[in-house]
């Protein structure tokens, strides 16, 4: 009854929809399963691995169900599956309302849905859930690799949809998918650039990811842990002056409280509650620092920070933050906090002084000199002795402290012995004498406070790798701690680590002797280990640069960037219009210019079209001429006076498998040449001819045909 049926039973099991017209066949289910695997692969680095097991179990069940070895999954089985999933997620995360739990739920439901996928509608629901899950994967990570993976998954899902819409074969399905993606890509880019960005409409559960491993309190061991990791903390580029190596002190937060063993942070609200003051005294939300006189002028450094997602509000700044491009919380100790937690990467423009703050701490000197009276008696005694020896000269006192660190047999190590006693600073200063920045900084701060001078610890980063393109990458292992002392009406930076390990300041943590075994201990496969190989290092830098541009240009294309881009685009257009106006003075000239452009465009389009559609395929005699040339190269050229069709028929037996096709060509050509055909039939005939000849072009041997293979037209090329 229908002419195409002959093609259909060439792949009997390969039907998308089974004979009843509704139930999905094996091909479609396999398509859906592969789509699930691709989407799951996007999530897998961040999600529990047992999801793979779930996918496999569901697929196997569905396969046996299709083969009718097991009954369809009833309501009980499906409910049981969901309950099992919830239980597993509960065990994994302890709660379901967290972001990870919700994503796990989405993925699990996506996988389980295959059990009750029976008809086209169900299959489309599965695909739609897959697209949502692809979007959700961007919460984990927004790098280039993730984008490419998501594009692959999207292409596969679209291809599944074309099968559902009736694709006859894989080639048609994939070519259509390709065209769709290609045609829609410019639209996507235009929308991406032009659609104005909004702020978050309501708050959503956020990913709980800490990228900078800094914590609220410093006790021995913390930053040593960080130095084992090469995770990126942030990237930064400077507009104007760049800081020298020894100036790259990134302040993140200060620690002003101590119990003798640890130093801890006093957040504004706790400080206000402890001292009985209002929170306004310690933190204010603004775009300019309220703690610094505006008369002080612009800051020395203008930085653009590309921050990694962090659930904690801390922001690094080079010295004291002065102004930012968006509202932030400015703390009185000269540090900065976000207004809300940041779930994804973000850009921040920041102006900063590059030096410690000049404003007094509103908490007062009493707070900043507080020291437990019963702990660390030897340290306190040493501090008082040094203060007396310096005769009340603060500068001499600080120099004496640095000298003490420099003269005594102190050494810098990332694997110091454990300090367990109650008088931890005493133990470090007088017994172990080995440690890293936190040890030296807390010991120095204790010594200074023992003399009654206000001092505090600052935690942040020191250094950063400079890329050839001029931006810096600061990593977890750059984490550092130092001291600030209130001196001559301003805070002064004092870094005792510099006295013990100057290389740490100038060259970075990997430069310090003896710390090599601890450095990057947790990242055995880090590409940073390849620094010594020049080409590998170049490759690494290039990849990081690409990634940086991607993060800055694409991922960072949020509110400010979008507005700026559109503004610049507007300016460019205006400039272009002005240029036109000045160069083409009269309207006539403009019209002529536009007309000329249009003509040129049309002409080139016409040329392109003709170049693309090869001339020899347009007319049957040209097609046949081409074929005859090919045959002549094989030594089967036409005899003089022979008609083209006659030639083809004569040589057909010598061409083996292509012979049958040659006869078809001869027949089709004669029909076109002599039969009274209308235009539609004629073009249809030409198309058939073109198809056969193209097919034959692939099949014809490149060289002279061997004589003994004549006649055996076993393979029907023309079909």
């Amino acid at each position: 009854m229908i002419g195409w049926q002959g093609r259909r039973h060439r792949h009997p099991p390969g039907v998308v929809v089974l004979a009843d017209g509704h139930e999905l066949g094996a091909v479609m289910l396999r398509q859906l399963f592969i789509g699930q695997c691709l989407v799951l692969a996007l999530h897998l680095p961040w999600m529990p691995a047992w999801l793979v097991g779930l996918a496999l179990v569901v697929a196997v069940w569905r396969y046996f169900q299709l083969r009718q070895r097991v009954p369809p999954a009833g309501r009980l089985v499906r409910l049981g599956g969901v309950a099992l999933l919830l239980g597993a997620l509960w065990l994994e995360y302890g709660a379901l309302h967290g972001m990870d739990g919700l994503i796990g739920l989405l993925l699990g439901v996506y996988l389980l849905k295959l059990l009750e996928t029976h008809d086209r509608r169900d299959a489309r629901v599965v695909v739609v859930i897959g697209i949502i899950a692809t979007g959700v994967a961007f919460l984990h990570y927004q790098g280039i690799l993730m984008a490419l993976g998501a594009l692959m998954a999207l292409a596969w899902l679209l291809q599944s949809l074309t099968w559902l819409a009736g694709a006859p074969d894989a080639r048609r399905a994939w070519s259509e998918t390709g065209w769709l993606l290609l045609f829609s890509a410019p639209l996507m880019v235009a929308l991406f650039l032009a659609v104005p960005r909004l702020g978050p409409l309501w708050s959503m559960p956020q990913m709980d990811r800490a990228s900078t491993g800094l914590t609220d309190e410093v006790s021995p061991g913390d930053i040593a842990q960080l130095s084992r990791s090469d995770a990126r903390a942030f990237r930064v580029s400077f507009d104007g002056e760049e800081p020298a190596t020894h100036e790259r002190y990134w302040r993140v937060y200060t620690l002003s409280g101590t119990d003798g063993r640890r130093w801890f942070r006093a957040p504004p609200d706790e400080l206000a509650a402890t001292l009985g003051r209002s929170e306004e005294d310690f933190v204010r939300q603004a775009q300019r620092s309220p703690w610094v006189d505006e008369a002080a002028g612009a800051g020395r450094f203008r930085a653009e920070l590309l921050l990694e997602p962090d659930s904690r509000p801390w922001l690094p700044s080079l010295g004291t933050p002065l102004a930012s491009d968006s509202e932030q919380r400015y703390l009185a100790d000269g540090t900065l906090e976000r207004v809300t937690a940041q779930g994804s990467r973000s850009l921040l423009r920041l102006e900063s002084s590059g030096a410690a703050p000049t404003n007094a701490d509103p908490a007062g000197d009493a707070w900043n000199t507080l020291l437990p009276t019963r702990d660390n008696p030897r340290t306190r005694a040493l501090g008082e002795r040094l203060w007396q020896e310096s005769g009340g000269d603060t500068h001499a006192f600080l120099a004496a402290i640095m000298a003490h660190f420099g003269e005594s047999p102190f050494r810098y190590t990332l694997m110091p012995p454990r300090l367990g006693s109650r008088h931890r600073v005493d133990e470090f200063l007088f017994e172990s004498r080995a440690g890293y920045c936190t040890h030296y900084a807390s010991a120095a701060a204790t010594l200074i406070r023992a003399a009654g001078l206000p001092a505090r610890l600052v935690v942040g980063f020191l250094g950063g790798e400079r890329h050839p393109d001029g931006y810096f990458t600061v990593r977890d292992y750059d984490a550092h701690a130092w001291v600030e002392v209130w001196l001559d009406g301003a805070w002064q930076r004092l870094d005792p680590t510099a006295a013990i390990a100057p290389g740490r300041i100038e060259l970075g943590p990997q430069a310090v002797e003896g710390s090599a075994e601890a450095f990057l201990a947790d990242s055995p496969f880090s590409s940073l280990r390849l620094r010594e190989l020049a080409w590998a290092n170049r490759l690494r830098l290039r990849w990081e640069n690409l990634e940086y541009q991607w993060q800055r240009g694409v991922i960072g294309y949020q509110r400010e960037a979008a507005r700026e881009f559109m503004l610049r685009l507007g300016e460019r257009l205006e400039a272009g219009y002005d240029w036109l106006g000045t160069h083409l003075r009269s309207a006539w000239a403009v019209a002529a210019w536009l007309g000329g452009t249009a003509l040129a465009l049309a002409g080139s389009a016409w040329l392109l079209r003709h170049a693309l559609r090869q001339r020899r395929w347009r007319h049957e005699s040209a097609m046949l001429g081409y074929l005859q040339c090919r045959l002549e190269r094989l030594g089967l050229g036409p005899d003089p006076g022979e008609t083209p069709a006659g030639h083809l028929r004569r040589v057909a037996p010598a061409c083996g498998p292509a012979g049958e096709a040659l006869r078809t060509v001869a027949e089709e050509y004669e029909r076109l040449a002599y039969a009274p055909l209308n235009e539609v039939e004629r073009s249809a005939g030409r198309r058939r001819l073109r198809k056969v000849i193209k097919e034959m072009r692939r099949r014809l041997p490149k060289r002279r045909y061997r004589a003994h293979r004549t006649g055996a037209a076993g393979d029907d090329v023309a079909s």
Binding site: I2, G135, L154, L164, P168, E176, L191, F192
Partner: protein
């Protein structure tokens, strides 16, 4: 009771009055005639439920991008939106310019299934075009230049009839929208009455020794002709299938009379129709007497056709036909 059969549509298609009213106007506005390539003004794009769901999906992903300030989620949402626009064009282009030819069945009886042949032609290759006639549908997975299909059609009553409107539909490539076009057949078909075998009248046994033996000539092959009578030699020469016709000595000469049948007029016509066919098969010479019409006795295909046409066109409402 039979007066109720005189429905206006029957007279409408029989008479040459152009149909009027909103439906007819819409019909002219919305449909094309067979044979011409589908113009863009007769091609309609309608969203499917899946298309609406797709829009909702774009919205959800946009909200997701806004609330998480996630650029790639924005990009995904925009790409899906762009895809929807492109799909709109691709679907439309998949159906634009397709020409539909209808092949009416050679003969059709009221209430019996006839097969309506449909041939689609296109200059570009097309994918997954569906043809829908009443409740039946068939999908052509691919259409390079020409493809054919046939659809069942059950004419409701006898007389001149237009086949029902044929709907062309495609959801290719993603099923987000469907492009629809309606083809209104313009050629009418004479539908014969539904044959009704009268109870108790068995087929007469075939006569003995009355086989057709004398060669009388050739006629075009018709479906159902015995393969032994096909003139294979002529076919091999001319490529046209013909059947050898032998002169059959007439078995019987008889009159089929409307007045001798019982029941309502339609039932009588149905009975007569069945008898015409039975006698034709048996090779009899028969004539037909209807009120106001008399078909002289004759035989063969021409006689059968004339008789069936007379039955199909017999006006029931004229006076005195209710001969009870």
């Amino acid at each position: 009771m039979s007066a109720a059969r005189a429905d206006p549509s029957a007279s409408g298609v029989r008479g040459e009055i152009a149909p009027r009213g909103l439906r007819a106007w819409l019909g002219r506005r919305l449909t094309i005639a067979p044979g011409e390539p589908l113009p863009q003004r007769r091609l309609f794009l309608l969203p499917t439920r899946f298309g609406l769901a797709w829009l909702a999906l774009v919205g959800v992903l946009l909200l997701f991008g806004v609330n998480y300030q996630n650029s790639l989620a924005y990009a995904l949402a925009f790409w899906l939106a762009g895809l929807a626009v492109v799909v709109l064009l691709r679907t439309w282009r998949n159906l634009l310019g397709v020409a539909v030819e209808l092949q009416l069945p050679r003969e059709a009886f009221a209430g019996r299934e006839a097969r309506l042949g449909v041939a689609l032609r296109a200059t570009r290759s097309r994918t997954a075009i569906g043809l829908i006639l009443d409740a039946h549908d068939v999908t052509l997975p691919r259409l390079e230049t020409e493809a054919t299909a046939s659809l069942p059609w059950r004419p409701g009553h006898r007389g001149w009839q237009l086949p029902p409107m044929l709907r062309l539909e495609t959801r290719w490539p993603l099923g987000l929208v469907r492009a629809v076009a309606w083809v209104q057949p313009t050629t009418r078909l004479l539908v014969y009455p539904a044959p009704l075998e009268a109870a108790g009248t068995e087929h007469r046994q075939l006569g003995e020794g009355l086989d057709a033996t004398d060669f009388a000539g050739l006629r075009r092959f018709e479906r159902g002709d015995s393969a032994t009578r096909v003139a294979w030699k002529q076919w091999s020469r001319s490529g046209i299938l013909t059947t050898k016709v032998f002169s059959v000595p007439p078995r019987q000469q008889l009159w089929l009379d409307y007045a001798t049948c019982r029941g309502s007029p339609e039932r009588r016509l149905s009975l007569l129709c069945a008898r015409v066919m039975a006698h034709h098969r048996a090779g009899d010479r028969y004539g037909l007497r209807l009120p106001g019409l008399e078909l002289p006795r004759g035989e063969g295909e021409r006689q059968r056709r004339a008789a069936l046409e007379a039955l199909a066109l017999f006006p029931v409402t004229t006076n005195g036909v209710d001969g009870e």
